[in-house]
Subunit: 569 residues, 2 copies
């Protein structure tokens, strides 16, 4: 990374204007469309009706990852054609929901052409992802490109090498082809920054697409990419995936290489950021994880666990081979009661699993409030992340004087309500260690709690997986996504968690409930926020959670839940 | 852990006096011997000549772990007899070198009797360690016992449960039978504290047995235990093992469960403490690791990696199946030049490996000084450990007002020279994150450096393992062990490292070398410390280092190096 700072720094607004100009110029003129007016909230059908994509390109972009790879491997579809199709659809998506940051068409097509040549000349694929276009969250460095994570202050800093994961994806034959929007600092569950602006939700543009991988969420939902890579520190893969109806995985620490990314809270070694796939099918999640793990990423990233893709674990050797399993549903984390559509999605899933012959019990959450408080959620308290975050944000932005964003609201007057930005600094390292120690103690308590469920499953095993909300709400209006703990607790515990779609908000089925006995003020605020009309057309997804480093089993169990939902429809 | 503090705290010296009295009373009268006078430096032969042990007990205590387990499993030797034999020898050892802390004969013998009954009644062993007495460093909590890690302030705090590893060892059939001495705070490479006093080296009592697992080192060397468990944050397993001529392993983070131990710098999540075996044969190391990993420790400790004992990795699938390997020798870390006996041990090992048909190249160390500085070694600098250590030590000792020990010297007048205790506090958490980030960058650089050695090995693989000193000296006079970086760098990199014995200081072969061009003042001081007479009879051991989570391969490669040394004798 080139960190040299020019002695005469232009004002940050000038940097932004110049960057925006360059971004605009990177879009081929012939791919510019006339998007529907802002009053059209649901734009999900637009890419197929706008006329830019021909029928074959529509077919290609509607194809799931596994079939795409088959077609590419037998040269039925060329990498150039597939990349072109997704690029066109991505550019359309961008004009609808503002999801892209870096656009580099020529470079991606040149790479695709190389792959086509290789296949033609050798009869062999380069690797398991041969020809697959992959979109990347704006934190995965690509040599020669900027990676700003929404900081104007980082405009003009060009990477001198690829992130490790980018190298591995290229080695696997993939075609990195766009990068996608995030919030400034990455530390928000929505996606707005001064450089690239705000990403909106394709199912209802008055709603957020989530964050911090909100650009990925919106892009993959519009099928502008078959597979995206997001990053997750507190829910940043799962929140946008849930808000945009995707399949996704937040792997455990050290399964997917993170080295060479730009990050927030860089250097904190306690609750680690992870990267993972966001896509339109659970098979896409599997294909990505298997390819990355088989590339022996521990040889390239010192934090990656030396643990191959384990086919036995995928075949659920530790979970009764997938027969007669016992799932536990967490209806409520004891802090914020989920909105009616979320509750309904849990009921749908429970019924589907029962119908498929599995057992379902209730999950009792243990100390979720404390876990959330330790990690991130309470403003002005001592947490692992806010221990040094303010100093980091100040240091980074002081280079150009750009303001630190304090709200994701459209109207800044609502900032005081909307902001959950960590604000507290100044604890000693020793004090931080005490917080970290408390967290390890709760991790132990949680592990023991899980193990003890063996007494209630009737399977001879503890609960096989937890199924729970990804958030207490579907995609919220902009600035209103204020509660992260349905995802953040699993980061604090380091449990792998997949996201899978279940339903969509339905104003008839999901009427506002009567007020319940509120757990606390946030619970009350979130209850009051609900209005089926406001959340119209918002997707509803859930999480499936396993124990640390059980990625293979979590993927297989998500396939099982997904199949059960399909069969029960 | 019962942390309630009495309102009327006795003076710490009164606490110590009372604890010492209790320790003395825990020794059976009939096992009290008359040890040689202090002027007898080498006491290694005393246990077999003192008359307390009968010939069968001498035979039992001279037997290696694998054979002990065979004899126990077929009831040729009872667990009670084996435990009694080792207990007697441990008590003799204690009277020679002051190596024990907690002594609980009745409890251990009752446990051994249970095991004998079980075997008699069922014809089966309880587990893979059936009947094996195991000694534990004074940080592994045992229910109902105190664990002071050398703090007078923690006298009277009785554990309400076992450490996870203790539970697992018991489940495997082991007999925990003594606990062993450490320095106050654990954060020293020698073993002195105000509660239990100082442990000395059985081969030369004017020398240290090392630390912080110095009690284990001395006890196992005297065969007062067939296998001990030490802890290692910067070399605390390897330094005493090297100083006392043992085989040992510092595993990677999260391979052996640490939960439920008392520790120094508790809650720091960056450079993690680990536990590992210290024993008299490399097979003992293997037996321990295999038993612990097969017990699925990740079900009991949230920080343990979900990774079984891997027989393929033990069989060196990634290292040419153990044929024609290439080892790299690090002669000097670029900071402190090793003393003549250490250099000679490297030459012996090189010759043996070459004779066994392997290739040997030189290892070029990368940024060892920076790695050491980041972790621990430089007083008054900003390091990961000293970031909160002073506040921790102050907080802990303030309960009783016991002094924080500032030197391991016999004569406190030498303290200024001897002390390397971290002294600096007060950096912000953000500043700590920058240090931690630098360390990750060096981990990446080191991984790439290792991978790049493929160009010089001629095997088609990078170097299979590094062989290097465990310290630049053999066991030093008390208070003089001032340089940890030959071990601490591998903690900072998280590389597994085994220790194996090579030779003994020989005043004829190991004459003082002429002064070299000193790297720095520490190098000069350590050069000047050397005098073959002073180090008389001190064992000389080396480390064999692999890459992260390669425990199985490191054990197998250590067997290969050990066999080569034996064959070359």
């Amino acid at each position: 990374m080139n960190n040299s700072i020019p002695t005469d720094i232009p004002h940050w607004t000038a940097l932004v204007a110049e960057k925006k100009q360059r971004q605009s110029e990177s879009i081929p003129h012939e791919w510019v469309v006339t998007p529907p007016s802002d009053s059209t909230l649901d734009v999900s059908a637009f890419p197929e009706t706008c006329g830019l994509l021909n029928p074959r390109e529509i077919e290609i972009t509607n194809t799931s990852v596994d079939v795409l790879l088959e077609k590419l491997a037998c040269a039925a579809w060329s990498a150039v054609d597939v990349t072109t199709a997704f690029y066109k659809r991505a550019i359309v998506a961008h004009q609808l929901v503002n999801c892209l940051t870096e656009i580099f068409v020529d470079r991606a097509l040149a790479r695709a052409a190389e792959l086509d040549d290789y296949l033609k000349n050798t009869g062999k694929v380069v690797g398991p992802l041969h020809g697959l276009p992959i979109s990347l969250k704006d934190q995965l460095c690509i040599k020669g490109l900027e990676t700003t994570i929404g900081y104007a202050s980082w405009i003009g800093q060009y990477a001198d090498k690829n992130a490790v994961l980018v190298d591995i994806l290229i080695e696997c034959g993939a075609v990195p082809f766009v990068r996608t929007n995030v919030p400034q600092t990455l530390a928000w569950p929505e996606s707005f920054n001064y450089v690239f602006g705000r990403t909106t939700n394709p199912y209802n543009r008055s709603l957020t697409s989530g964050g911090s991988s909100g650009g990925e969420g919106a892009l993959v939902a519009l099928k502008g990419s078959p597979l995206g890579v997001g990053g997750d520190l507190a829910g940043s893969i799962r929140i946008p995936s849930a808000f945009c109806s995707l399949y996704a995985l937040r792997p455990s620490y050290g399964r997917v290489p993170c080295y060479g990314t730009r990050n927030t809270l860089d250097g904190q070694d306690s609750i680690l950021p992870v990267l993972g796939p966001m896509t339109n099918s659970v098979i896409g999640v599997k294909v990505f994880m298997k390819a990355v793990l088989n590339a022996k990423p521990w040889l390239y990233d010192p934090l990656v666990v030396r643990k191959k893709w384990d086919e036995d674990e995928y075949n659920l050797v530790d979970h009764g081979s997938g027969k007669n399993m016992c799932f536990a549903i967490m209806w409520d984390d004891g802090v914020v009661v989920p909105h009616p559509p979320i509750r309904r999605s849990l009921e749908i899933t429970k019924a589907a699993l029962l119908k498929a012959g599995h057992k379902v019990v209730d999950w009792k959450p243990v100390k979720h409030k404390t876990l959330g408080d330790i990690a991130v959620s309470t403003p002005c308290s001592v947490t692992i992340w806010n221990a040094g975050s303010t100093e980091e944000y100040m240091t980074t932005t002081s280079v150009t004087g750009e303001p630190i964003i304090t709200t994701m609201e459209l109207d800044i007057a609502d900032a005081a309500v909307a902001s959950f930005r960590p604000q507290n600094d100044g604890m000693s390292v020793y004090q931080l260690w005490q917080v970290q120690k408390l967290r390890q103690d709760i991790r132990k308590e949680y592990l023991d709690h899980w193990k003890a469920t063996v007494s209630e499953t009737g399977t001879g095993r503890p609960v096989d997986a937890i199924i729970c909300p990804a958030a207490p709400f579907a995609a919220t209006p902009h600035g209103k996504n204020r509660y992260l703990d349905y995802t953040a607790v699993w980061n604090a515990l380091d449990y792998p968690a997949a996201v899978f779609p279940v339903t969509t908000v339905d104003s008839t089925l999901d009427r506002k409930a009567r007020p319940h006995a509120f757990h606390n003020d946030i619970d009350k605020d979130i209850y009051e926020m609900y209005d089926p009309e406001k959340f119209k057309n918002a997707p509803v997804c859930l999480q499936l959670v396993g124990r640390t480093l059980e990625e293979e089993a979590v993927i297989r169990m998500t396939e099982i839940a997904d199949a059960a939902l399909l069969a029960a429809k």
